[in-house]
C-alpha cells in the first residue's frame, strides 16, 4: 500500500512540473523555440526509432563509463598512496588543486588539441571525477577508528583482513557518496566535452547539431535522453550499493 502511495506521489509531482512546462510553452507560443512536453515527446519517440540514436547513446555511455571507471580506480589508488606513503600527499596535492580550480571548458579545449575527438569525453569524465573520489577516500581512510586499527594490529590481522574487514567497511559510506556525486559530474562533463569536441557518434554532437540547425524539439529530446540516462545510471549505482551493503552482513 505504501509503495503504491509512493509511486502515486511521484507521478503527481512529475505531472505538476510537466504541467508548469506545458503552461510556459503555451504562453510563449513558439513551439519551434520552446517546445512543450507534447512536441518533445514526439521528437523523442522519433529519435528512438533511429539507429543513430541508439549508437550515439551507446557510445556516449561507453565513453563516460570508461572515464568514470578509470577515475574511481585512480582516485582510490591516489588516496591510498597519499594515506600510506610519506610525502606522497605533499607531492600529489598540487595536482588535485589544479584539477579542481581549472574550469572544465579550459580542459576540454586543451585536450581537444592533444587527443582524438572520441577520447576527449573519456579524459574529461576521468579528470572531473578523479579529485572527488580521491579526496573522499583519503579523508575516510584518515578517519578510520584508531581503536579498531590498534585491535587489528594486536590480533595480528593480515593485510587482506585489514583491508576487507576494517578499511573497506569504514571507507565505504564516504566512497559510495563520492561515487554517486562523481557519476553526475562524469555524465555532465563528458557530454559537455562531446558538444565542444564534436565527437562523432555521440549525444553531445547531436545536441550541438540540434542547436545549430535550430531544431529545438530535437534539442529538448536529446536533453531528455541525457536526464533519463543519468537517472537510470544513478538508480543502478544505488541498487548496486544496496546489494553490496546487504552482502556485507
Amino acid at each position: 500500500m505504501n509503495r503504491i502511495k509512493e509511486i502515486l506521489r511521484r507521478v503527481l509531482i512529475g505531472a505538476f512540473w510537466i504541467g508548469i512546462w506545458w503552461a510556459i510553452a503555451k504562453v510563449v507560443g513558439l513551439p519551434k523555440l520552446l517546445p512543450g512536453p507534447g512536441e518533445t515527446a514526439l521528437a523523442f519517440a522519433r529519435l528512438c526509432g533511429t539507429e543513430a540514436f541508439w549508437r550515439s547513446v551507446g557510445m556516449t555511455l561507453l565513453r563516460v563509463a570508461l572515464g568514470y571507471g578509470c577515475a574511481v580506480v585512480g582516485g582510490v589508488l591516489l588516496a591510498v598512496a597519499c594515506h600510506q606513503v610519506k610525502g606522497a600527499e605533499m607531492l600529489l596535492s598540487p595536482l588535485r588543486t589544479v584539477i579542481r580550480a581549472t574550469p572544465v571548458s579550459s580542459f576540454i579545449l586543451l585536450v581537444w588539441l592533444w587527443l582524438k575527438r572520441g577520447h576527449v569525453p573519456v579524459f574529461i569524465s576521468f579528470l572531473m571525477v578523479l579529485p572527488i573520489i580521491w579526496t573522499a577516500t583519503q579523508e575516510a581512510l584518515g578517519a578510520v577508528d584508531g581503536d579498531l586499527r590498534e585491535m587489528a594490529r594486536m590480533y595480528r590481522f593480515s593485510r587482506w583482513k585489514k583491508i576487507r574487514y576494517l578499511y573497506a567497511p569504514s571507507v565505504r559510506p564516504a566512497f559510495l557518496a563520492a561515487c554517486m556525486t562523481g557519476l553526475g559530474f562524469a555524465w555532465k562533463s563528458g557530454i559537455a566535452a562531446e558538444v565542444i569536441a564534436l565527437t562523432p557518434d555521440s549525444v553531445g554532437k547531436h545536441l550541438s547539431d540540434a542547436k545549430n540547425y535550430l531544431e529545438y524539439p530535437d534539442l529538448f529530446a536529446w536533453t531528455l535522453t541525457v536526464i533519463l540516462l543519468s537517472m537510470a545510471l544513478e538508480a543502478c549505482l544505488k541498487a548496486l550499493a544496496r546489494k553490496r551493503k546487504g552482502e556485507g552482513k
Binding site: E150, M154, Y155, F157, K161, Y165, P169, G248, K249
Partner: protein, 184 residues
C-alpha cells in the same frame, strides 16, 4: 619471567607510571589493583607492546604471543559476533568460546547486543586468539555477579599467564589471581 625495572611511562600532559619495578611469574594469574588513574591500563598497554616506555627496562616478553582484552570492546560493528571472533582464530574455536561466554545468537551484529553481551564477545575473541600471555583490562565490566563467576570459571587457567586489571579484590579472587597494588 616478565621483568619491569625502573619503568616510567607518561603522556605529554602527565606521567602515569614512574620508576616502577615489577616481576610477573611465567604462569598463574596476577591482578593489578589501584584506583582509576594509577596506570593499570597503561601498564597493560606497555606489556602488550602498544605503549613505549620512556625510561627503564622491560624484558621477558620477547617472542611471546599476547592476547589483549581492551578496556573498550573494540568489536568490528559491521560483522556478526561470530565473525568478530572467527577473524582472530577459526570457526571451531569461535563457536566454542562464544558458547562458553553464553552468547545466545552469535549471528547478531554488535549494536544489536546488550553491553554485557558485547563484553563477553570481546572476551570470547581474546580467549580464542590463543598464546602465552592473556591481558585483561576490566574483564567483568558490565557483567552481573552470577555471570562474572561463570565467565571467570571458564577463562581462568587457560593461558599460561593471565594479567588483569580489577577494581576490587573479589574480581581477583574469582580468577584466583595474586593481587599487585599499584598505588602502594
Amino acid at each position: 619471567m616478565i621483568r619491569l625495572s625502573h619503568v616510567s611511562v607518561g603522556y605529554p600532559d602527565k606521567k602515569v607510571l614512574e620508576n616502577l619495578s615489577l616481576i610477573f611469574p611465567d604462569s598463574g594469574a596476577v591482578a593489578l589493583m589501584a584506583p582509576s588513574g594509577y596506570g593499570k591500563t597503561t601498564l597493560l598497554r606497555v606489556l602488550a607492546g602498544l605503549k613505549t616506555i620512556e625510561a627503564g627496562e622491560l624484558s621477558g616478553l620477547e617472542n611471546k604471543k599476547i592476547s589483549f582484552l581492551f578496556q573498550e570492546d573494540r568489536l568490528l560493528p559491521w560483522v556478526s559476533a561470530e565473525k568478530n571472533v572467527e577473524l582472530v582464530s577459526d570457526s571451531e574455536k569461535a563457536r566454542h568460546w562464544l558458547k562458553q561466554m553464553e552468547i545466545p545468537d552469535a549471528r547478531q551484529l554488535p549494536h544489536e547486543m546488550s553491553g554485557g553481551m558485547r563484553r563477553r564477545v570481546a572476551l570470547a575473541r581474546a580467549m580464542a586468539f590463543g598464546g602465552d600471555v592473556l591481558l585483561l583490562d576490566e574483564p567483568f565490566k558490565g557483567l552481573d555477579e552470577a555471570l562474572r563467576e561463570r565467565v571467570a570459571s571458564h577463562i581462568r587457567d587457560v593461558y599460561p599467564l593471565t594479567i588483569l586489571s580489577v577494581h576490587d579484590s573479589a574480581e581477583a579472587e574469582l580468577m584466583g589471581a595474586k593481587i599487585v597494588r599499584l598505588d602502594s
